[in-house]
């Protein structure tokens, strides 16, 4: 009904406002009036307008008055008597019931406001996604920029090849050549083009033959390999020794053959061997210099294997340093059984070669070997014989021998190694020689003078050279290995030896000459002189010391008195105690708060020179200082405790508790905890001092990337199968800006 009303009203309105066709309007109005008056109930009160005027009253423009509207029932009234009236009425009722009108649209500004609010809220909500990330970044102990690291993985050759494009003319040329080369290896086919061609070229027979041949060679090779492997696994030492010996024999044979066939090559081989020998002699590789050897030596005491390996090493060294190419007859002539095994003496090394070589020094010295070296010779011979024995592993026997003779103190700690022994013995021999010389010197110069211990005052400066003395005692010990001193070693005690040395040492600087002929006699003399009771010597020394000390030591009481006297004498002029009391008093005075006198002379009184303010006034204007608490050092006579507070540190101290801290203890503990290297281990120091932000020099820092960041998070939380690219990006490296986007898109597609 309303709709129909609207239709009609709008029509009426149009007619009202329309002013071009007045005649029409008029007839129309009349028609409406007649329609309304049909039911006879109401009369139209519409204004009739006959003429258009420019000034139209506002009231006449209004269309909203309900009176103007035509209701549906007004129209229906006219149809009341027609046949379809009931039907029509029903339809209209239905229409009215079903109809729902829209609300009036909101005004534009209001509409905009709502839209903006909705969008803003949506955006704000979306942005909360960033909260955890922002929080994490703000609290991170260290942030390293740029956040996304470039891919630093090394490219594989395949990758390089795939992306390689020839650029320079040379590269282009090479590429062109390679492209057309028949020998180019292709992955798809097993054989190259050239190979295929050659295959085609070969006849079937030939190919078979060739194949058989190749097969044979391959089989042989594999046999050889397996054999070598098997042999290598064999643990038997004997087997290996035999193998080694065989090899050596073979080598020797080859060498002799070579000597005959090709002297030049032989000479070269010899030279090489010589060089190797020299190198071996230079290095300690097989003689305890190497780390392995050192370890083995440590273990040798407990471990048989280690001992054996040491032995082997030494053996090896001996073999290497052996001189093969000097003819045996020569060396035998030189000195019987001369052996170079590990002997370190320079003379010893050069001696054998000296016979055959052109060393003038040795050539000269060989014949003029004089008597004292005879002993050395003997010992050398001994050593060489020992050496020979050693090859048959008879060390123990030898040790027994050594101990049995009881010659050497050093033999107590005798080592298994006979090399050292020989060394020792040679040294000993030298020592003996030296000793003899020294003794002879000493004796000749003394000329029967008694060596008296009472002379120790003169000796003392020399004795002070402690180190020398020790060395000499050692040499003495070694001398004792000679048979001459055999008896002595059993009887005498150590201090005596020391004394002996002292006496000799004292004698040495005085006498430079020696007389050989007297040597033996004097030796005996010395023995006689030296035999002094060590205890006596000790007492003597103390006596001398006592005599040297001044007389203060007479009595303890006297001593104290004397001390007091000297102190009082020394401080005769200073009155320390009085000074101190005065000082203390002064400090007390100074620290006492002063009274404040506010009297003004001449104020309310006569003024002028020489006039004292009246007592009454002084009393009135004097402000007395408040009494202080008792001083801390009041009862301590000998102490001044300053009451003044030291403010010098205050300017360095924090007066207020700084912001993030909530209590003083927290702050103090933070300040106390040191961060320097001096107090913290390197790792902790690095951890403490690591900067909050690290940037890379010359690297652009891009803004944080939404896609990359959230993909990373998603992957971290996600479980299950992942794409290759995704696993890469999980590590936080290996992806570029564009790549990340692409991957993201790919993922989305997959999801769809």
């Amino acid at each position: 009904m309303d709709e129909t009303e609207d239709i009609f009203t709008s029509g009426g309105y149009e007619n009202d406002s329309g002013d071009e066709d007045v005649g029409d309007d008029f007839t129309h109005n009349k028609l409406i009036d007649s329609i309304i008056s049909l039911d006879g109930k109401r009369k139209s009160n519409r204004k009739a307008r006959s003429e258009t005027t420019k000034n139209i009253g506002e009231a006449s423009l209004s269309t909203s008055s309900d009176a103007d509207k035509i209701r549906l029932h007004q129209l229906m009234g006219a149809l009341q008597n027609t046949t379809g009236h009931g039907m029509l009425k029903k339809q209209l009722m239905e229409l009215k019931r079903r109809n729902k009108t829209l609300d009036t649209p909101l005004s534009k500004p209001e509409q905009g406001r709502i839209e903006r609010r909705v969008v803003y809220e949506k955006t704000s909500k979306d942005l909360t996604l960033w909260d955890p990330i922002v929080k994490e970044n703000r609290n991170a102990p260290q942030l390293s920029f740029p956040l996304e690291r470039p891919n630093l993985n090394l490219q594989t050759t395949d990758q390089v090849v795939r992306s390689f494009k020839p650029r320079t003319p040379l590269e282009v040329e090479v590429a062109a050549m390679l492209r057309n080369n028949p020998h180019k290896v292709d992955k798809r086919t097993q054989l190259t083009r050239a190979e295929m061609e050659s295959m085609k070229a070969m006849s079937l027979e030939e190919a078979r033959e060739r194949r058989a041949e190749l097969q044979k060679y391959r089989a042989l090779l594999s046999y050889q390999e397996s054999k070598a492997k098997r042999q290598k696994k064999i643990k038997s030492k004997k087997f290996h020794r035999i193998l080694r010996k065989e090899k050596a024999k073979q080598l020797k044979k080859e060498m002799t053959d070579l000597e005959k066939k090709d002297p030049e090559a032989y000479a070269e081989a010899v030279k090489l061997a010589e060089k190797r020998r020299v190198e071996e002699r230079m290095s300690l590789k097989h003689r305890g210099g190497s780390k392995f050897m050192k370890n083995q030596l440590i273990h040798a005491k407990y471990d048989k294997d280690a001992r054996n390996s040491v032995q082997e090493m030494l053996q090896h060294s001996r073999e290497l340093t052996k001189k093969d190419h000097v003819s045996e007859s020569e060396s035998e002539n030189e000195a019987e059984g001369q052996n170079e095994a590990g002997v370190t003496m320079a003379t010893d090394d050069t001696a054998p070669s000296g016979g055959g070589s052109h060393n003038p020094w040795l050539a000269h010295s060989a014949p003029s070997q004089h008597k004292p070296y005879a002993k050395l010779e003997e010992i050398r011979n001994e050593a060489s014989s020992d050496d020979d024995e050693d090859s048959s592993d008879e060390n123990d026997e030898q040790n027994q021998e050594n101990n049995g003779t009881g010659e050497d103190n050093m033999n107590d700690q005798a080592s298994d190694n006979e090399d050292e022994e020989t060394d020792d013995e040679i040294e000993k021999a030298f020592d003996i020689l030296e000793n003899k010389k020294k003794i002879s010197k000493q004796k000749t110069n003394k000329k029967g003078k008694d060596v008296k211990i009472e002379n120790s005052e003169e000796e003392s400066p020399e004795e002070s050279e402690g180190e020398d003395e020790e060395m000499i005692t050692q040499t003495m010990k070694r001398k004792r290995t000679l048979a001459d001193f055999n008896e002595d070693s059993n009887d005498e005690e150590v201090p005596e030896k020391v004394l002996k040395v002292r006496s000799r040492k004292k004698a040495k600087p005085r006498h430079k000459k020696k007389k050989k002929e007297k040597q033996n006699r004097e030796n005996q003399n010395q023995e006689a002189e030296v035999r002094v009771d060590p205890k006596n010597s000790m007492t003597l020394e103390t006596k001398i010391n006592q005599s040297a000390i001044p007389k203060i030591l007479d009595g303890e009481d006297q001593d104290e008195d004397d001390q007091r006297m000297t102190i009082s004498e020394a401080f005769a002029d200073d009155d320390v105690i009085d000074d101190f009391t005065a000082e203390k008093q002064e400090a007390e005075e100074r620290d006492k708060p002063k009274d404040i006198n506010l009297t003004l002379p001449g104020w309310g009184d006569w003024g002028g020179a020489g006039i004292q303010p009246s007592k009454k006034k002084t009393k009135r204007f004097l402000i007395k200082a408040p009494p202080l608490p008792p001083r801390k050092d009041k009862h301590l006579e000998n102490v001044i405790i300053s009451e003044a507070k030291d403010n010098s540190i205050a300017k360095h101290q924090v007066s207020k508790l700084p912001f993030p801290y909530t209590n003083v203890l927290q702050f103090e503990s933070d300040v106390k905890a040191p961060i320097g290297k001096l107090w913290n281990p390197e790792g902790a120091f690095k951890e403490i001092t690591k900067p909050k932000i690290v940037t890379k020099i010359g690297t652009i820092i891009d803004p944080i990337d939404k896609e990359v960041t959230f993909k990373k998070n998603k992957i971290n939380s996600k479980t299950g199968p992942k794409q290759d690219n995704d696993t890469k990006s999980k590590k936080g490296h290996g992806k570029t800006f564009g790549g990340g986007k692409g991957q993201k898109r790919g993922n989305q597609k997959n999801k769809k």
Partner: protein, 445 residues
């Protein structure tokens, strides 16, 4: 006799190579290293003094422009390239490493109002007072010839600012309205208006790339979403904002440079009050730019100084000024976080170090460790008066010094007045208002 020896493992004291450092065994017994706090305090004090001794932030200037510099733009992939636009319509391209001008373009009549480089770095856009947007190649095709823009858009109104999207080929201009442009079209794709006549500055968000923020002459800051047809929100401050900068690491944080000498950092989800206000300038702040790490920003001011603020601090950590530097109209933080560029009215672009006393160039590991240690020490003892005094002390020009004093007096007197009012009125009649809340006038939906 067995002789026992003290022995050491050579591995512990022998260097592996000649260039290796000597291993020094250390005893960390605290009894052997007494007075740790006192010693570290001294070290921190000395370090802070040395810091001031070595603080030489000014690196050099780029001169060549014939009028005041109005805008700058950095290159997205080359650290040594920047662009600057001057008030006479000239655009120059600079090589920072050589400190030379590599290119000069007479681009516009009147001011060059805005410059922005595309993310691919192939071209850049400029807009000016002549109502024209021009697109230029980054590397000119023919350097000898007079340069012509590759693309020109003639508009109806003056464009006051321009900003390029961080990914796509879309850019936004502002002026009477905010326009979103697509590269391929001559007409804007979208236009936003919200009852203001002049929008002076616009910036795209780095992270949520569809978001835009703009400042307008009606003292408002406006937020837009490029995807929608309506603006998002508007917040009105007491005075006009001159520039805006988004935090490149935190999507919802932006900072505005205001005429009331302050800078305000907002969380765009809560515009009722700023997160933080940063004060120290003594005149209007004209431009602001974030460091690429998002931890600090730099601001240039009408008081002829540049200041660096940490985002969470209310006061600046550093002030840069030069004798002949005039009003600073634009500042840029270099994208490697090392340098700051400032363009000012007296036609010069100045290059500064972001960290005044930092040693430039490659640091040796031990050097770096030492720097890290003293930095940490300074941080630890910063509350101690002597250390703080040295760290905080800056020499400023007389103008700034006296202005600062004056402002302090003004502030003090206002405070006193408020206090007096509070004391002499009914309890609760004069409420305490936090400083942060005083500056936002309204938030409009």
């Amino acid at each position: 006799m067995k002789v026992k020896l003290l022995c050491r493992n050579p591995d512990e004291y022998i260097r592996e190579t000649k260039k290796d450092i000597h291993k020094v065994p250390r005893n960390y017994d605290p009894a052997l290293h007494p007075f740790e706090a006192a010693r570290e305090y001294t070290k921190a004090l000395n370090a802070s003094k040395l810091d001031r001794v070595f603080a030489k932030p000014f690196l050099g200037s780029l001169n060549g422009h014939r009028d005041g510099i109005h805008c700058m733009s950095s290159h997205p992939s080359s650290l040594s390239t920047i662009l600057s636009g001057a008030c006479d319509g000239e655009i120059r391209q600079w090589d920072l490493a050589k400190r030379t001008c590599t290119r000069t373009i007479n681009a516009h009549e009147g001011f060059v109002r805005g410059l922005t480089v595309t993310p691919s770095a192939e071209s850049f856009y400029s807009c000016g007072d002549d109502k024209i947007i021009k697109q230029w190649r980054m590397t000119p095709e023919n350097p000898s010839e007079k340069e012509e823009p590759t693309h020109t858009i003639i508009g109806k109104t003056i464009y006051e600012g321009i900003s390029h999207h961080w990914r796509d080929n879309v850019f936004a201009t502002c002026g009477q309205q905010v326009d979103i442009w697509n590269v391929d079209r001559a007409e804007p794709v979208r236009t936003f208006t919200w009852g203001v006549d002049s929008i002076s500055h616009i910036k795209y968000n780095h992270i949520e790339t569809h978001l835009l923020a703009a400042t307008a002459s009606d003292r408002s800051i406006m937020l837009y979403d490029m995807r929608g047809s309506n603006p998002l929100r508007k917040v009105i401050l007491k005075l006009r904002s001159n520039a805006i900068a988004w935090n490149p690491m935190e999507a919802f944080i932006f900072t505005v440079a205001n005429e009331d000498y302050n800078l305000y950092t907002f969380d765009m989800r809560n515009l009722k009050e700023p997160l933080n206000l940063h004060m120290d300038h003594v005149s209007a702040v004209l431009d602001v730019d974030y460091s690429p790490t998002g931890k600090e920003f730099v601001s240039g001011s009408y008081d002829k100084s540049i200041r660096i603020f940490p985002i969470e601090k209310g006061r600046s950590r550093e002030v840069y000024h030069a004798k002949r530097m005039q009003r600073v109209s634009c500042v840029k933080w270099s994208r490697d976080n090392k340098y700051i560029l400032s363009g000012s009215d007296e036609t010069n672009i100045r290059i500064w170090k972001a960290n005044a006393s930092e040693k430039l160039g490659v640091l040796k590991p031990r050097e770096r460790a030492a720097f890290n240690e003293v930095t940490k020490l300074k941080e630890k003892f910063v509350h101690h008066p002597k250390v703080r005094r040295i760290i905080k002390h800056r020499h400023v020009p007389g103008m700034i010094y006296s202005a600062k004093k004056e402002h302090a007096i003004i502030k003090e007197s206002r405070k006193r007045k408020e206090h007096n009012r509070r004391v002499h009125s009914k309890p609760g009649a004069v409420p305490f208002v936090a400083e942060k809340k005083k500056h936002v006038v309204a938030e409009l939906e």
